[in-house]
Structures are given as C-alpha cells and as structure tokens.
C-alpha cells in the first residue's frame, strides 16, 4: 500500500519538476530571440528600455522622439519606462527591447553573468553621483565618513562610494554603518543618516527644494557638504546605450543602431540648446516631479554631457579602463567586487556612434558643444 503511494509521489514529483524545467527553459534560453524590427507605416519600430522613470535624465531620447529626429532616420522609437526592479540589461538580452540605457558597471556585471550586450554609446561623460551631508557634520572628504551612518541605494549604485571609502583606507563593512537608503532624501533631512547618496541632477535638487525648519526658507547649497566622485577620483561611467551583442552581426541591426544613435545625439544637442523646451517635453511625458525640478535636471545632465570635444556619445577609453579597474578592485561590505575578471568579447564599440557623429557633423549639427555654458536654475519648494 505505502509502496504504491511512494511510487506515485515520486512520479508526480519528477513530473512536476520536469514540467517546471521545461516551462522555464521555454522562457529565456541562451539562444537569443531575435525580436527583429517590425515596420509600421514605413518606419522601423525600435524599443528603448530606460533604466528609471521618465525624467530629464533621458531628455535627449524623449526629445528625439518628440521632435521627429528618429522619424527622419526612418525609425519609430518606443520608449519603455524603467523602475526600481527593472534591469534594462536583461530586458535587452531577452529580446524585449532593442536598446537599453544602463550604467556601465552594472551592465558589465550582467555581461559577466552571460547577458549578451555591447555598449554602443556613452551618453554621460562624467559621473553624476554625490554623497551629501549637512555642512555641520564636517564630512569634507571620504575619510570623514568613519563611524558615520552612511546611506546608499544599493542595487549596484553604491560602488563609487565604496571605492572612495576603500581609497581613504576605510573598510565599508566595519568602519561605517551602512544604511539602505530609499530613493529620496528623507532620511538625511530627518537626521536618520549622516551622509546620503544623491544624483547631482535629481536627489541633490530635492534637498534644495525642501524647507529648512529653522529658517522657514528653502535650504541653501551652503547648508550641505558634497563629495563629488569626479574630484575624489573614484567616478565610474554611468548612462550608456547598450545594444544586443548577438544581433550586432546582422547588417540591418547595425544600420538601425547608427540611425538610432544619430537621432539620439541630435536629441541631446537639441536639449543643450533648448533646455526649457526639453523640460516641457519631459513634463508632458509624465515625469514624477514638476517643471522647475526637471529644468534643474536638464541643466545638470547637460553638464555631464557637454562639452564633448570628440563628439557626444563617444566612449573615452581611459574612462572605460578606470571604470573596469574600479569594478574589479572595489569590494563591498561582503568583500565582493562588481567584476571578477576583465570583460570578455566585445564589451563596447565606438564604431556606430562614430558613424552617427560623422553623419550629424556633415549635416551641420553641433555634437561637440564647445560653447556650452550651464544656466542657473531657481528651484521651488517640492520641485513643482
């Protein structure tokens, strides 16, 4: 009696695990699903996966779609919004998008896990990450973080901070208290943490949009001390455009890539010259924060891109190597590094972006921006 039950159970277990395995195998094998471009009204449909919610950080893409720069390249670009749990690299590798925006270290970590992606353009030439604290805490260098409650976002956004602490001789696991920070500045403002991670173009502005209870006015920049990883020397490359490695062997996809990048760079050039117009495009697309915040963000993002002496979108090899080195040597609190070995295969190529730059330069679009001067943006309470 018990024997037959045993037999039946085992069979059921085997059956279930087999069904499960087959089902899983069906949804994402290592064999790429080539979601080949489809046409709509003579335009090639292209899907772009952003790494975060719609905001001015992606203004160039949104403007290119809005102003018809993609359409003049023969593309119909659908922009997919990102979020906390969306990993653009895997969306791209699984064929649910044709291109994706992702930070370089995170994307390289995904590549090491077998995600077949290649960088085709480096949008931001500089890092936009700060570690911010109230000025009266006297945190003016990474070494001053010792013994402090240090907020960070995790999710692979923390390695510049860890690199800076390591460089200053601190053990991130022992010498500071690490706190999982929400994607806002509440914990810093309430005094819960001593130093908070902030993007120059987003969370830092949120601080300046908050009221100082002591004065009843908005906080002034003097109230804060900012650690900028570009000056500390632990900056890593951030927003870049990634393409599907496997599909880059297909001439049609190569062509689409050049077209897509040409439209994109033209969009960014447009936002350099028309920040207010781009702000309106972003707000109309449904950004979470309001117009003044998006204008600040547009201005800060422009600072990360312009001027680009070699042309916007071109990857600087020295910066790439520095990012790879930091990714291989920076240990987090558990002693893990972003990368365990040098990126293999084609991790990046400037081939397509160079073609796009040449095409735009020939057509008279300025993709260097040597005359770029940032504006001064006045923030309002709550970023309205």
């Amino acid at each position: 009696m018990s024997k037959t039950i045993f037999g039946r159970r085992r069979a059921a277990g085997l059956l279930m695990s087999t069904v499960l395995a087959v089902a899983l195998a069906g949804c994402g094998t290592a064999d790429e699903q080539t979601a080949g471009p489809t046409s709509s009204g003579g335009l090639t449909t292209v899907k772009l996966q952003l790494q975060w919610f719609v905001q001015a950080q992606f203004a160039g893409f949104l403007a290119a779609a809005d102003q018809g720069f993609y359409a003049e390249q023969g593309l119909d670009v659908q922009i997919l919004e990102g979020g906390v749990d969306i990993v653009p690299q895997t969306v791209l590798a699984q064929g649910q998008a044709d291109y994706a925006v992702a930070w370089v270290p995170k994307a390289l970590a995904s590549r090491e896990q077998g995600v077949g992606i290649t960088e085709v353009a480096q949008i931001f030439q500089r890092s936009g990450t700060y570690q911010v604290s109230f000025a009266n805490k006297n945190i003016t260098s990474p070494a001053d973080l010792r013994g402090k409650k240090v907020g960070n976002w995790g999710f692979g956004n923390e390695f510049e901070l860890f690199a800076a602490m390591t460089k200053a001789g601190l053990d991130p696991g022992k010498d500071v208290t690490l706190v999982q920070q929400q994607f806002d500045m509440q914990a810093l403002l309430t005094g819960d943490i001593d130093a908070a991670q902030a993007m120059s173009y987003n969370e830092y502005a949120q601080l300046l949009e908050a009221k100082d209870p002591a004065t009843g006015e908005l906080y002034k920049p003097e109230a804060f001390a900012v650690l900028d990883w570009n000056t500390v020397g632990t900056a890593m490359l951030q927003d870049a455009v990634w393409a599907n490695t496997e599909r880059l062997s297909d001439p049609a996809y190569q062509e689409t890539t050049v077209k897509f990048l040409a439209g994109t760079l033209k969009g960014w050039a447009f936002c350099r010259d028309n920040p207010e117009k781009c702000r309106d495009i972003v707000v109309a697309k449904g950004s979470k924060l309001g117009a003044s915040h998006q204008l600040w963000q547009m201005n800060e993002v422009n600072k990360l891109i312009w001027p680009s002496p070699n042309g916007a979108g071109l990857l600087d090899e020295a910066a790439w190597n520095a990012t790879v080195d930091l990714s291989m040597t920076t240990k987090n609190q558990d002693g893990q590094t972003v990368l365990t070995k040098k990126p293999e295969g084609t991790a990046y190529t400037n081939e397509y972006v160079q073609k796009a730059i040449d095409q735009l330069t020939a057509a008279g679009t300025d993709v260097v921006g040597s005359g770029f001067t940032p504006a001064t943006v006045t923030l309002t309470e709550g970023g309205a």
Partner: protein, 282 residues
C-alpha cells in the same frame, strides 16, 4: 511507555499493525518510509533542474544551475550566517512580541463578548495590510537605522494567525469541564488557568507554528524598504541588481534554511508544551 504486543502481530510480523503499536516502533524501515519520498523527490527535482540548465542552455541570468548556487553558498557562507543572524534576530523579536500581544488580545476577546465580535474583523483587516505599505510607514515613524520598524512588521504579520487560532482554542471548552468548574464555584481566573488556557495550548502552538515561517519572510522582505544593510533581504536584492543571480539564490537558500529552523523550533516547542498530543493519536 510499554508496548502491548498484539497476538496477531506476533503471529505475523509483516501484517499491517494498529496505529499505536506502529508509532511506538521507530524502525529503520519507518524512517525510510517517512524520509525517503521527500529526499528522492528533492534529489530528482534538483537533478532535473541542473540538467535543464546545463543541457537546455538556459542563460545563467534567467535560472542559475544548482551547482552554481551551491558554489556561491559555500563562498558566501560567512556572510549568510552573519546576515541570517541579523534577520533571524529581527524575526524572533517580532515573533515573540506579536505572539504575546496576540495571546493577550485573544484572552480579552474571549472574555468580553463585545471585544470578541469587534476584534476579529479588525484583526483580519490588520492581516490584509501589505508589508509594502507597512514597512515604509514604520520606517518614517521610527528611526530607519534601528531595527524597530522591521520587528514591528514581523509582529503585525505574526499577530493574526496566533490571535485567531488562540481565540478558537479559548472558545472551545468542553461543557463537562465547565460544569465541573462551576460545581467547584471556581472564579474566572481559576477557570481560565486550569481549563481554558491548557485546553487552548495546542491551538496556540498551531498558530505559532504557522507564524514562525511567516516571521522570517516578513523580516527578510521588510529589509527591502530601507534601514540597516545587515540582513539577508538586503543581500538578495543587491545580488539580484548586480545580475549575480547564483549569489542571490544562495542567500534565498539561506532564508529558506532560517525559515525551516524557525518552523522546527516551533514544532519542538509544540511537542514539549503538549506532550499528551504526541502520545495519543493526534
């Protein structure tokens, strides 16, 4: 305990035996029958999984192979233990707090009819509160750098099963016992202490057993919403964000072990507290 040997059994040892005699004979065969199927199923499942991933060329970022997960488990073992201890401490503190409050609330609800009628829907509403809503609110109410918010989340999650099962137990009093205590003119507290509470014990422990695994899940999930980066939850999300899925799964396995540990301890406590249940036919 003594085993009364049934003459029929003595005559034919292979014949099916009655419940009591069989339970008292913990033979090797019995152990195999009890543990065999789950072990075989688990082994078969893991083997099928490994083969599917390696032979089916499933991309490692979709589903890592068990061997890769085991390797990461070995590499990160020290971290899994320290972070598991942090999450486990939060789960335990919340479990104790939630259980104590649930017991007191159930006693009050069973004593006062009005409270009993009101409390069950309120408790059910509390149970329906998602962690995703609770955790950020509690993080804002208390310092996010303390463990209080997480422990409160666990306590709230634990409250409901313990409260409901305890209340049911307290309400199920044998009429004979009630009559007996009435004939002794026993007061309310005496009656509670001697009849209702011991009678409710099995129910209480059923509730705690259900709550034990929930406590671990709640403790791990609540780390997702900020606070100290010292537990399993923070490691799972950060590994997943870095596409280090084998490592993420290794920490998930750590959370499973922690949950099982809690469950087993609750089971042992249940056996210890209600020895009459494991002896009789349950």
């Amino acid at each position: 305990m003594t085993v009364t040997v049934d003459p029929a059994v003595a005559a034919d040892p292979t014949a099916p035996v009655g419940g009591r005699a069989r339970r008292s004979r913990r033979t090797a065969k019995g152990l195999i029958e009890a543990l065999g199927p789950p072990i075989v199923v688990a082994a078969a499942g893991i083997t099928a999984w490994e083969l599917t991933v390696t032979l089916g060329r499933v991309a490692p970022y979709v589903l890592p192979a068990p061997s890769a997960i085991a390797e990461q488990f070995r590499l990160s073992f020290g971290t899994i233990v320290t972070t598991g201890t942090a999450s486990g401490t939060n789960a335990l503190a919340g479990l104790v707090l939630g259980t104590v409050v649930a017991l007191l609330a159930a006693m009050a609800a069973s004593r006062f009819r009005f409270l009993g009628e009101v409390s069950v829907p309120v408790a059910a509403a509390l149970n329906a509160l998602p962690i995703i809503a609770l955790a950020p609110i509690l993080n804002n109410m208390f310092s996010a750098t303390s463990n209080i918010p997480r422990r409160l989340v666990v306590a709230i999650v634990v409250f409901f099963p313990v409260f409901i099962t305890t209340l049911r137990g307290l309400r199920e009093v044998d009429p004979v016992h009630r009559d007996l205590m009435d004939s002794y003119a026993a007061g309310g507290w005496t009656f509670s202490r001697l009849v209702r509470l011991p009678g409710a014990l099995p129910f209480v422990f059923t509730g705690i057993r259900q709550a034990s695994s929930l406590a671990v899940i709640a403790a791990v999930v609540s780390e997702y919403f900020g606070g100290l980066q010292d537990g399993l939850g923070s490691r799972i999300t950060s590994a997943a964000a870095n596409t280090a899925y084998p490592r993420a799964w290794a920490f998930v396995a750590g959370a499973c072990v922690l949950g099982l540990l809690f469950y087993l301890i609750a089971l042992v406590l249940e056996r210890l507290a209600t020895p009459w249940r494991s002896r009789g036919s349950s």
